[in-house]
Amino acid sequence: MKKNRLLLRGAVQIFLNGMLFRNPVLVGALGMYPIAAAAWNLKNAAALSVLFLALSLPSSLVLCLLGMLVPRWFRPALVLLVSAAFYVPAGRLADLLIPGSVSALGMVAGLMICNSILFSRAEEYAPEHVAVAVAADSLGCSAGFALVAFLAALVRSVWLGKISLPFAAGFPAGRAADLPFAGFLLLGFLAAFLQWGNRLRARHHAERIRRRMP
């Protein structure tokens, strides 16, 4: 019973790390391409998130099962094969939930297969950890990816004038927010914000420890 609770706590920690504190996009600089290139409206962001979740969870789990069985050098190819296999149902799912989204994404959707978050997680993390941790990590990364994608999409829609904020009436809608550079600039600021938060957290943590041990 106690073991289970520990496991659960560990899983929650892994999930939170993946989603926020060690966000793969903002801290690891992985998988920036889909967000920079495609996350410029909410629909795209939603489709990307669904695709990511539907690709990363099963492939991580499969790799967790098979990873240790194949030689180390073959693992990258295996990851690619597995995620390619899951891409078809994932695309179907995304299309089902948000009709027309995959074709709207175009090239970006196809390139989700070799997304570097998915790749590094499935190749390095999954084979060497237990299934619960892998699932938590995969879910956390998906949540983190989705969070960043939605944030970026929100800001860029406002910028493009697709969503008008109540207090910014008459804001001159600009173009070019759908270009990758805007995504990178936004990611830069989001990453800075996260780094700032993490530093604050680390400082609080250190202070708490110091208070406990005078």
Binding site: L80, A84, Y87, L179, F184, G188, A191
Partner: protein, 195 residues
């Protein structure tokens, strides 16, 4: 023919730069830039895989369905080809190269093969409707662009970690901003057009 190849290669470095204008492959380029001594080998491997992937696109494209749900299969097929290319290259290198060289190259092989830049090739061939010669030129040019991006980034990383910066921006956030501004400069080539 050679001139056409060269022209497309230049286009791939300049106006139709997949990395800067399209924003692809920067995760890898950043990783690559952190180890400046391997940039050359890494870029060579990336060029090799882009070439392979591009020609897979050239040969497989007529065989595969394009639209609708069947389009999903297309993407899967290209990914499977990339996986095969990786495996074949690995085996080839193991046979050809001595052990010491292989030890150096092996860790670079996987990230060079499984890469957005590599997998994007067949799509770009289709959207730019390149003939085989141009396709080769484009793949070579993309490899060169990857090399240039990594070299520029490896120098930029030093700028992005100086003592006068705000703590929050030190390191990665500043590097991403750097990428953003550089990508913005290249967007001046294409205007509002995206791939």
């Amino acid at each position: 023919m050679f001139i056409r190849l060269l022209l497309t290669a230049f286009a791939a470095v300049g106006a139709e730069n997949l990395l800067f204008t399209g924003g692809a492959g920067f995760s890898r380029a950043l990783r690559c830039a952190q180890r400046p001594d391997t940039v050359g080998i890494y870029a060579l491997l990336v060029t090799w895989f882009t070439l392979l992937s591009m020609f897979a696109g050239v040969w497989l494209d007529p065989l595969l369905p394009v639209s609708g749900n069947a389009g999903l299969v297309r993407a899967s097929c290209f990914a499977a080809v990339a996986a095969a290319a990786y495996a074949v290259t690995f085996v080839l290198l193991r046979i050809v190269l001595p052990a010491c060289a292989e030890e150096k190259i092996a860790p670079l092989l996987a990230p060079a093969a499984v890469n957005t830049v590599v997998l994007a090739m067949p799509y770009l061939r289709r959207s730019f409707s390149l003939d085989p010669v141009q396709a080769a030129g484009y793949a070579l040019g993309t490899g060169a662009a990857f090399y240039l991006a990594s070299v520029v980034l490896s120098h930029a990383l030093a700028v992005c970690r100086n003592p006068d910066m705000p703590q929050a921006f030190r390191g990665l956030p500043a590097s991403i901003l750097y990428l953003g501004i550089l990508s913005m400069a290249f967007a001046g080539f294409a205007g509002g057009r995206v791939f």
